[in-house]
């Protein structure tokens, strides 16, 4: 076997193969493109190997001292006290927590939790679960909630997105108010949230916790009653119609029913 390629040669080979892939893609020769991609993956693996070899004297990565993703997400959801989308969770994490949390780390979280629940129901103190749509009681798209919350807080009615936005704004403001010296990132997050609430921020880039709480509470009082009625009705229905797992992870969708049947 020939000597392994040096990293410069690998760089060059990778660029060449990529040019070949572009030619194949342009000509719509997808079989060729796929062969080349396999070749490219092999080269990139070699590249990483060569790089590690070159770096072997350098010490390895520092040990990961962060909480597991599941715990971090639970903490954030507890802070917000409402069902939240991954991008919101990532934004809050960036403002209050050290380390990195990528949206991609949350992709399979809920599915894993569901699997765990179905294997050993109620085996954990809490599960990261779904929010449920008020009309069909199916999992609301893209929202993560906590199983220990009362069911009606996990229901999403037509006003719930707004209500939850305001509630989480209040919680964020309270949290920042309690923090001694909030980070610039935290203050920026508060301002961004405040910008969406009438009379919550004084000027561009400037939001005080007290005024955010006051403004959010004022708008909340407009929507709260209607929202609660819709949510509680749906929650009653859910308790009557759904099993334990479905109450946490949503009624099966039509297609899932078909596949099962």
């Amino acid at each position: 076997m020939a000597d392994p390629l040096g990293i410069e040669e690998l760089d060059q080979r990778i660029s060449e193969v990529k040019t070949e892939i572009r030619k194949a893609v342009s000509a719509q020769d997808f079989a060729q493109a796929s062969r080349l991609r396999t070749q490219l993956r092999a080269l990139e693996a070699q590249w990483h190997g060569a790089l590690e070899l070159a770096e072997s004297s350098v010490s390895g990565k520092p040990g990961n001292m962060q909480l597991p993703v599941r715990e971090t997400v639970h903490q954030i959801l507890t802070l917000l006290a409402v069902p939240a989308a991954p991008r919101t969770i990532v934004a809050v994490h960036a403002a209050f927590f050290a380390g990195e949390l990528a949206g991609s780390q949350l992709t399979y979280l809920r599915r894993d939790e569901e699997r765990s629940f179905r294997t050993a129901p109620h085996g954990r103190p809490y599960y990261l679960c779904s929010a449920l749509t008020y009309d069909r009681l199916t999992a609301a798209r893209g929202l993560i909630a906590v199983s220990s919350w009362p069911l009606h807080r996990r229901i999403v009615g037509t006003l719930s997105a707004r209500v939850d936005y305001l509630r989480s704004a209040i919680k964020l403001a309270e949290h920042i108010d309690r923090t001694d010296r909030p980070s610039p990132a935290a203050q920026r997050l508060l301002w961004q949230v405040a910008a969406g609430i009438p009379n919550a921020s004084a000027s561009f880039g400037d939001a005080r916790p007290a005024s955010v709480i006051e403004a959010a509470t004022a708008e909340l009082s407009v929507h709260d009653d209607d929202d609660r009625v819709q949510r509680e009705q749906a929650a009653r229905r859910a308790r009557k119609q759904l099993g334990d797992a479905e109450q946490l992870f949503g009624a099966p969708t039509l297609s899932a029913v078909r596949k099962a049947g």
């Binding site: 989308a85 919101t88 798209r141 009438p198 407009v222 209607d226 039509l254 297609s255 078909r258």
Partner: protein
């Protein structure tokens, strides 16, 4: 034979019609005079595959994954948390009352229930039209449909229908920037024509539910990043002109039988794919079938139609003046062919009666070039 059967035959055995979306429907309005395109689109022929099979793969329709990611990222931001950003814009710019903060996601992850999703969208929007504004403000991902060449085409727009007082508006979210109040006119035009597809489809939906279609405004709300930031800004865009163009083209396609009548018997664009989906039909045979349907190639096709390179190739073989630009053909006195134009200019061809005037102009042009440019001509 029914229209549907005739279109199926054009597309080929067992091939599912290529689904339309707002972009492809908007593209129908470009070059409306082209029969080849009208027929292929009506039949749902995959023009991209067809072009590749003739040896002239399309140069358009390739989107940069970077642009796609940027578009999706901006849209997700604008719509996140119940459209909090949208509500802010609508409250600030349109005076949307505070109590109207309803947000209903009509989207679903599964396309096997498209018809059901359409019904759900219809009932939600109809319920809103029936009752007061409390019955809904923002409707995300409504499922809509339009009839194209006699076939219902479902549209799953990433847009929001928005109700203010007694009007519904289409909100179109685009990631091109509006810098100092000005956006790229080409981008705005493309957005306007796509939105007009939604306006028409939403009108159909309300009419379908027994409501006045004119509840849908002929202005749409365009939401774009402001300046160089990620902050959204909203502007009204009038789409009346685009609606007229779109209606005219859809009416033309509704009358597809007339175009089909003009085709030779037995013509088909079937690629006869093998087990791996690779076409087995010969390029020459396919090209022959394509050529039996009249095309009207112009350089603008290059950015609008997957088949453009095939048609350009033919236009060049025919020495077409229109292939140099529609105005070029006009300025050459309507002469179709560059060889004819030059032969008339040099005087080596005696003009037919209809070209006498054109020939005079071309001779003058040729004489001036020779006299002034001499060697350089």
């Amino acid at each position: 034979m029914s229209t549907q059967l005739r279109l199926d035959a054009l597309r080929g055995s067992g091939v599912i019609a290529k689904p339309h979306n707002a972009r492809t429907i908007a593209a129908l309005t470009r070059n409306p005079g082209c029969t080849r395109r009208a027929v292929m689109d009506a039949a749902g022929v995959d023009k991209d595959k067809t072009a590749a099979a003739t040896g002239h793969p399309a140069s358009i329709g390739k989107l940069s994954p970077l642009a796609v990611a940027r578009g999706q990222g901006f849209e997700a931001r604008v719509k996140s948390q119940g459209g909090a950003e949208l509500l802010r814009l609508l409250r600030e710019n349109l005076g949307l009352p505070i109590p109207q903060a309803h947000y209903l996601d009509l989207g679903g992850d599964d396309d096997s229930v498209i018809g059901g999703r359409y019904l759900r969208s219809r009932s939600a929007l109809a319920a809103s039209a029936d009752s007061g504004p409390d019955a809904g403000t923002l409707f995300d991902h409504p499922m809509l449909r339009l009839q194209i060449a006699g076939v219902w085409v479902y549209l799953e727009p990433d847009m929001v229908a928005f109700r203010l007082e007694d009007k519904f508006y289409i909100i179109e979210i685009k990631s091109f920037a509006i810098v100092d109040g000005v956006a790229d006119p080409g981008d705005v035009t493309r957005a306007a024509i796509q939105s007009s597809v939604y306006v028409l489809a939403l009108r159909n939906l309300l009419a379908d539910a027994g409501h006045d279609p004119n509840l849908v405004a002929d202005q749409v709300i365009l939401v774009c990043p402001k300046d160089f930031s990620n902050q959204p800004t909203a502007h009204f865009v009038d789409v009346r002109k685009q609606l007229t163009v779109l209606r005219r083209q859809l009416a033309r396609m509704a009358d597809i039988d007339r175009l089909l009548d003009s085709l030779p018997d037995g013509v088909t664009f079937d690629l006869a794919p093998d087990a791996h989906g690779l076409p087995t039909r010969s390029a020459a045979d396919l090209a022959h079938a394509l050529r039996s349907v009249e095309a009207r190639y112009a350089p603008e096709c290059l950015s609008a139609c997957e088949l453009a390179l095939f048609c350009r190739h033919d236009a060049h073989d025919a020495h077409s003046t229109a292939a140099l630009g529609r105005t070029v053909r006009e300025e050459l006195g309507g002469v179709d062919c560059t060889s004819t134009a030059v032969a008339l200019g040099t005087g080596t061809l005696v003009p037919t009666d209809d070209l006498v005037q054109a020939a005079e102009t071309l001779r003058a042009a040729h004489a001036l070039r020779t006299a002034i440019l001499g060697q350089l001509a």
